[in-house]
C-alpha cells in the first residue's frame, strides 16, 4: 500500500553534530524520492532528491542514502546548525497518478546551541 513514514517523530541534536533522519517506504515500484524541510508557518522546501538507480546523493551539507533492499531512506545533515531546526519529510512519487507525492508524517529536528 501507500505508506511512507518516518521512524522517529522528534530528534534533538547538539549544534555542530551530524543528524540522521530516517524514512521507510512500502512501494517497491517507487523510483524517485524527495526530502523536504518545513519551517514553522511555511510551505515545504525542497532539500534533495534521489532516484532508485542511485544509492547515495550529496548536496551542500546534506546526503541522502537509499537502500532499496529494505526500502529505507535516510537524510544526513552534517554540522547541524540552529537554522536546520524544522520538520523534515520524505516523499515518494507516483508517476501513474499525475506524479503525486506521498509524504511521510515528518520528523521534527531540534538543534540545541
Amino acid at each position: 500500500g501507500e505508506n511512507v513514514g518516518l521512524h522517529l517523530p522528534t530528534l534533538s541534536v547538539q549544534e555542530g553534530d551530524n543528524s540522521i533522519i530516517n524514512c521507510a517506504y512500502s512501494n517497491s515500484a517507487s523510483d524517485y524520492f524527495i526530502w523536504y524541510k518545513q519551517e514553522s508557518g511555511k510551505g515545504p522546501q525542497f532539500i534533495i532528491d534521489i532516484r532508485s538507480n542511485m544509492d547515495k546523493r550529496q548536496g551542500q551539507r546534506v546526503t541522502v542514502l537509499l537502500n532499496k533492499t529494505v526500502k529505507h531512506l535516510s537524510l544526513q545533515i552534517a554540522a547541524t546548525q540552529p537554522g536546520d531546526s524544522a520538520v523534515y519529510f520524505c516523499a515518494e512519487i507516483y508517476y501513474n497518478q499525475g506524479g503525486k507525492l506521498i509524504f511521510g508524517q515528518g520528523t521534527e529536528l531540534s538543534v540545541k546551541p
Partner: protein, 113 residues
C-alpha cells in the same frame, strides 16, 4: 515562495458555507496539486491537475472540488465547509513530475467554526 502564491493566507468561515482557495503560479508549470496538512497525518493530496481543465482526485478528495480554467490558476472549493476541513492547505507546482523538486506555496490556514 517564488512563482507561486496562495490566497487568502488565513480564513475563518462558518460550517456549511462554500469556500474557495486560490493558487496562482507564474512559472507556466503544467502540474498543480492541492494538499492539506494536519497534525499526525503529514501532507495528503486532495486533487491535482495535469493541464488546463484536466484534473483528478487524490487521497482525500471528498467534500472538495477543483477547477483549472487557465494554466496559472488552480482553485480549490469546499462545497459546504465542515469542521473536519479545518487545516492548512498547500498548493504545489511541478513542471515535470520526477524531475526536480516540487515547489510549494506558503499555505492557507483555514478554520471552520
Amino acid at each position: 515562495d517564488a512563482g507561486i502564491t496562495q490566497s487568502p493566507r488565513h480564513k475563518v468561515t462558518e460550517t456549511g458555507t462554500p469556500v474557495t482557495l486560490r493558487c496562482h503560479q507564474t512559472e507556466n508549470h503544467r502540474y498543480m496539486y492541492w494538499y492539506r496538512q494536519d497534525p499526525g497525518h503529514g501532507l495528503r493530496l486532495i486533487h491535482y491537475s495535469y493541464g488546463v481543465k484536466d484534473t483528478d482526485k487524490g487521497e482525500v478528495s471528498d467534500g472538495y472540488s477543483v477547477s483549472r480554467s487557465k494554466t496559472e490558476d488552480f482553485l480549490l472549493t469546499l462545497e459546504s465547509a465542515t469542521s473536519s476541513q479545518t487545516s492548512v492547505y498547500f498548493c504545489a507546482i511541478s513542471e515535470t513530475p520526477g524531475i526536480g523538486g516540487y515547489t510549494f506555496g506558503s499555505g492557507t490556514r483555514l478554520t471552520v467554526v
